[in-house]
């Protein structure tokens, strides 16, 4: 396990640098000058552009710029937003809210997804299974923002069960509706994944052995089938973090939540590309780290993974 962990961490290093360089490169080296974009249609005074370019180290070679940026990144200096606040500051304020939202969404999608998927998998071909499949397909094919609008309209405006916008402290209760929206697509994928893997495991030899041993059906299902079916779900949660981040940008935008996603949403709408990049760079880093964690967890759950390669 230690050997495996070490190898995975080493493999992650080039991915981390490559991914952050890619994002840096896209923003600062492609046609479409971000500094000129600051000024819109009217060009600024001649010296100003050079001054700003020097301030952001844009006059140096690309590799050097990137190294300065990544050096600052590791020291916690993520640059400043257009209004002059340090990005790290904004992030510190916004992160706890997004964390609460993500925890709620993860809770909804994994608990409800596994339960529905398990029942559907156990009753493959029956009406519950068929309707679970149809609902999951529908949830996947409706974009998150449409679902967000609909939920807000139905539960917020017409039924009045929830507030349509979340206050700045974002208490747990107000985050329930946005978390349901955020969880919807992943819920659908988890249902499909759990269902397929439960149906698969029901035919496995170890389940037949357990049944033949005389274990009750309840015990066979909870201990043998469910536990083994959770392995692919855990891996999915790692990959899913990426769509959860995108979902957070949209959901927090719609419900006006002052979290990380809401900040990115506003920055995108206002065209503050440097803020967008800093935040997304941090998100990509979190994504890479989370997937490393999931890989390790996966290897711990399923010994075949670590000895296979």
């Amino acid at each position: 396990m230690l050997w495996y962990t070490g190898r995975r961490v080493l493999q992650m290093i080039p991915v981390f640098f490559g991914a952050t360089f890619l994002i840096y490169f896209m923003v600062f080296s492609l046609p479409g000058d971000p500094i000129a974009a600051l000024y819109g249609d009217r060009p600024p005074a001649p010296g100003v552009i050079e001054q700003i370019r020097a301030q952001y180290n844009l006059d140096k070679p690309l590799i050097q710029q990137y190294l300065i940026y990544i050096g600052n990144f590791f020291q916690g200096d993520l640059g400043t937003t257009y209004s002059g606040r340090p990005v790290s500051d904004v992030m510190a304020g916004a992160f706890p809210i997004t964390f609460r939202l993500a925890m709620l969404a993860l809770f909804f999608e994994s608990v409800a997804g596994v339960v529905v998927g398990l029942i559907a998998g156990l009753r493959k071909g029956k009406w519950f299974d068929a309707s679970a499949l149809v609902v999951s397909l529908l949830l996947i094919s409706v974009p998150t923002f449409v679902l967000g609008f609909l939920f807000r309209l139905i539960f917020g405006v017409q039924l009045g069960w929830f507030r349509t916008t979340v206050s700045s402290e974002a208490p747990w209760g107000e985050l329930i509706l946005p978390a349901l929206v955020l969880a919807s697509v992943s819920f659908a994928y988890i249902v499909r994944l759990t269902r397929a893997s439960v149906a698969d495991n029901l035919n496995a030899d170890f389940v037949r052995t357990a049944t033949a041993k005389g274990l009750s059906r309840r015990r066979v299902v909870t201990v043998h089938v469910l536990r083994n079916s959770l392995v692919p779900v855990v891996t999915f949660l790692g990959v899913d973090l990426g769509s959860l981040m995108v979902g957070a940008i949209i959901t927090e935008g719609i419900f006006n939540i002052n979290g990380v996603g809401g900040t990115v949403y506003k920055a995108i709408v206002l065209g503050e590309s440097t803020t967008v990049v800093s935040f997304i760079a941090v998100m990509v880093v979190i994504f890479v780290l989370a997937n490393l964690l999931v890989d390790l967890l996966y290897a711990a759950l399923d010994p075949r993974i670590r000895y296979a390669k």
Partner: protein, 314 residues
């Protein structure tokens, strides 16, 4: 195994298993390909026909929107009818700008479908070329390509697209498709690489090598056709997800410019009058979801037919 209750072992009746020389090959019978088998299993499923009919219909709407409505979607909008309900000739009512919702939904098909198709074609092309070269030739080529793929894979598609789209000037359906495929190709490349790796070790490849067929020709004639099935399944599903991605980018205001009619733009603009006039949101959203649903269903059926072992992952 079929067995009757109370029967210890199942033994087939003799007439069920006619004795025949094991090496006799009926050469008059045409060899059945994977595709013929897949077609046989697909055409029995009603879902296949439902999704196919939907996809053909959507394609016709995208190509010839004029066939379905005579109302102009952008000219002749009447502000006096702003947010108006359905009336004769305008079954879906009017937008905030007084434009016909039905006509806009019909004409919005083209941009959304173009992005989905183009992005899928690009991703499949890049993924198949890179994945098969890496899997087939191995060595340093594989090492480099796989590491580069890991880097792109580490950036979630829409997050990467948000960064690129927010710095690129005016977007077109083509540029949106390009941007999406930049971050989405590693998935296909990985699947293709795995499939090519397992196909390379099969007997027919060895047989072709023994017959003196060149390596590259084996790749083109045998390895790729035999490993493309899982890629086609994923490509079908991703066509739907690209359409959703385009609408998400348009919703954020960094996708297609508002002058281009697309479902994403219409849904995004509908949010201002959502409470008073939800139909402005519902119709383009329904059109988008039906399109995505059609491709998801077709992907599911293709998966069952071509790749029975694959689980219902994305």
């Amino acid at each position: 195994m079929p067995s009757k209750r109370g029967q210890a072992h199942f033994v087939a009746e003799l007439e069920d298993t006619p004795v025949a020389p094991v090496d006799r090959l009926d050469e008059s019978q045409k060899a059945r390909s994977t595709w013929a088998d897949a077609w046989d299993s697909m055409r029995r499923r009603p879902m296949f026909w439902i999704s196919s009919v939907l996809i053909v219909l959507i394609a016709v709407i995208a190509l010839f929107p004029g066939l379905f409505t005579s109302v102009s979607p952008s000219l002749g909008c009447d502000l006096g009818k702003s947010n108006g309900g359905p009336e004769a000739g305008h079954p879906f009512g009017f937008t905030r700008q007084g434009c016909d919702v039905y006509a806009r939904t019909i004409f919005g098909t083209q941009a959304s479908v173009t992005v989905g198709l183009l992005a899928t074609a690009l991703v499949t092309l890049i993924g198949v070329v890179i994945g098969s070269l890496a899997g087939y030739y191995g060595g340093w080529l594989d090492a480099i390509v796989s590491r580069v793929g890991d880097i792109f894979f580490a950036i979630p598609t829409i997050l990467g697209a948000i960064v690129l789209m927010s710095v690129l000037p005016a977007a077109t359906p083509t540029s949106v498709a390009f941007v999406l495929s930049i971050f989405a190709w590693p998935q296909i490349a990985r699947i293709m690489r795995g499939a090519v790796l397992s196909a390379t070790n099969s007997d027919y490849v060895m047989a072709s090598t023994a017959l003196g067929v060149s390596r590259f020709r084996i790749l083109l004639r045998h390895v790729i056709p035999n490993s493309i099935a899982p890629v086609i399944v994923i490509a079908t599903v991703s066509l739907g997800t690209f359409i959703v991605a385009e609408s998400t980018l348009s919703f954020l205001g960094i996708g297609l410019p508002t002058s281009v009619m697309s479902w994403g733009n219409d849904i995004s603009q509908a949010q201002t009058s959502l409470v008073t006039n939800p139909q402005v949101l519902l119709y383009p959203a329904a059109a988008l979801s039906i399109t995505v649903l059609a491709f998801l269903m077709l992907g599911d059926i293709l998966r069952d037919a071509l790749d029975p072992k694959a689980r219902a992952l994305r």
